[in-house]
């Protein structure tokens, strides 16, 4: 059995944004609480808390997950990437962040980290993603400000710039 002591504490060991993290956590800690409160990474947001909106989206072993619906113990031994870990090659803005700005795909910005995370997962998996692929990938990300056209064109622009 994994390292859980009788008080329900768990020795969590994982990689977060490329760094090895080892922490004693309560086994009832949600992944979102772990990211925001224990690690202080505030880019990941809590929107609906029900898996509907995608504001809490992060990459786990390269795949998107909703951190509001996962427990921190579930990432033991795995690799987590939050929005803070998505950067350009020079450590500056990531190409998706640049195209989101250029296309005006950001208004209040609450959904943006989740949208960038989901888009990055898609473009890594499908470098030749079509507009339909982009729309389908983003079905789990809600934006209540800008709508989706500018977001979709920003992802498409980033895809073209990757070539």
């Amino acid at each position: 059995m994994n390292r859980i002591n009788p008080n329900g504490f768990f020795s969590l060991s994982c990689f977060v944004n490329g760094q090895k993290i080892e922490r004693e956590i309560s086994s009832s800690r949600s992944l979102l609480e772990f990211i925001r409160e224990d690690l202080g990474l505030k880019g990941t947001k809590e929107g609906c808390g029900e898996g509907e909106c995608g504001a809490c989206m992060v990459l786990l072993d390269g795949k998107t997950v909703n951190s509001c619906l996962m427990m921190a113990v579930q990432i033991d031994g795995r690799e987590l990437v939050t929005i803070e870990g998505i950067k350009g090659k020079d450590g500056g803005l990531h190409p998706l962040q640049k195209t989101f700005m250029a296309e005006g795909a950001v208004q209040c910005g609450f959904c943006t980290p989740g949208l960038i995370v989901a888009s990055e997962a898609l473009l890594r998996r499908k470098p030749k993603a079509t507009l339909d692929d982009i729309k389908l990938e983003l079905t789990g990300n809600l934006c209540r400000c800008t709508g989706y056209e500018k977001v979709i064109s920003a992802v498409d622009k980033a895809r073209r710039s990757r070539k």
Binding site: S26, G51, N66, C68, L69, M71, Q74, T139
Partner: protein, 279 residues
């Protein structure tokens, strides 16, 4: 949230540690339903057993006569499986309608079944594929038809601590369609949905199985409509008759998502669309 989450690494270890755990306990798989229920304050369990490390629940295996999908296999793994794509067309057709891409990276078929929602897209497709479910309790295994697992909304025939270990689907030559009607094209809970699997030779349906979601207390297997269609040419008159017949097999309710009469009517429409897609 429960105070304790334990993560056994094998079924043997699970059965060994279970008796000493708090009595109010539940299995945690992908968490997309259970954590949600817990976040809403509607879960009173003291302990969760995380089944994700149980290798016995992993993988999609093919034998001479059937396909086995482990209960802890993620929906997105099924989506990308060559075996599933070859043998399980109804399930593959349903997957794009199953929640969102990120939730499909988390959710499992075992969890989809254990949650016993009448709206479960994965279960609806599996029932049309004629799946059975494998269960295990303290090392004792049993297999039952998947339709036999559900007693009502959120109610299953699982005994205390009994675990869903996987799904066995017979290999049979068939094409399939999944039609779902929801508030938007993707990522919504259905007002009504239908899965149809059919073995069609020269326009004649040799064997048909129809399952419907969100139109009864459990996923409905439309036995009469399935039997009516078997052996028939899928011509316009036959499709119309099937669309009428299926309405007598469902028992939808009016709730926040839709109205009973509309749902019943839509069952006919969805069956008709799905059948037209098959011919």
């Amino acid at each position: 949230m429960p105070k304790l989450i334990v993560k056994p690494s094998s079924l043997k270890e699970l059965w060994k540690i279970t008796p000493a755990l708090p009595y109010k306990r539940k299995y945690l798989s992908g968490g997309t339903d259970l954590v949600n229920i817990s976040n809403a304050g509607a879960d009173d369990s003291d302990c969760w057993l995380d089944v994700s490390a149980l290798t016995e629940l992993w993988g999609i295996k093919e034998t001479k006569s059937s396909i086995f999908i482990g209960a802890a296999v993620k929906i997105s793994e099924i989506e990308n499986s060559v075996t599933a794509r070859r043998w399980l067309p109804a399930l593959i057709a349903a997957i794009p309608h199953f929640a969102s891409p990120s939730l499909r990276n988390m959710a499992t078929l075992g969890g989809n079944a254990a949650n016993a929602s009448p709206c479960a897209d994965g279960v609806c497709a599996l029932i049309s594929e004629r799946a059975s479910v494998w269960l295990e309790l303290k090392g004792k295994k049993r297999k039952i038809p998947l339709t036999g697992l559900f007693l009502g909304p959120k109610k299953t025939a699982l005994k205390k601590d009994e675990l869903i270990t996987g799904f066995e689907i017979p290999k049979w030559k068939h094409t399939a369609a999944y039609q779902k009607l929801g508030p938007r094209s993707y990522f919504g809970i259905s007002k009504a949905a239908v899965a149809i699997s059919a073995d069609i030779k020269a326009g004649v349906a040799a064997k048909v199985s129809i399952a419907l979601a969100s139109v009864g207390p459990v996923i409905v297997y439309a036995a009469k409509t399935s039997a009516f269609l078997s052996g028939k040419s899928l011509v316009a008159d036959v499709i119309s008759e099937a669309a009428e017949l299926v309405k007598t097999e469902v028992s939808p309710i009016t709730d926040t998502r839709s109205e009973a009469d509309y749902r019943r009517e839509m069952c006919g429409v969805l069956v008709s669309r799905a059948l037209q897609g098959l011919t």
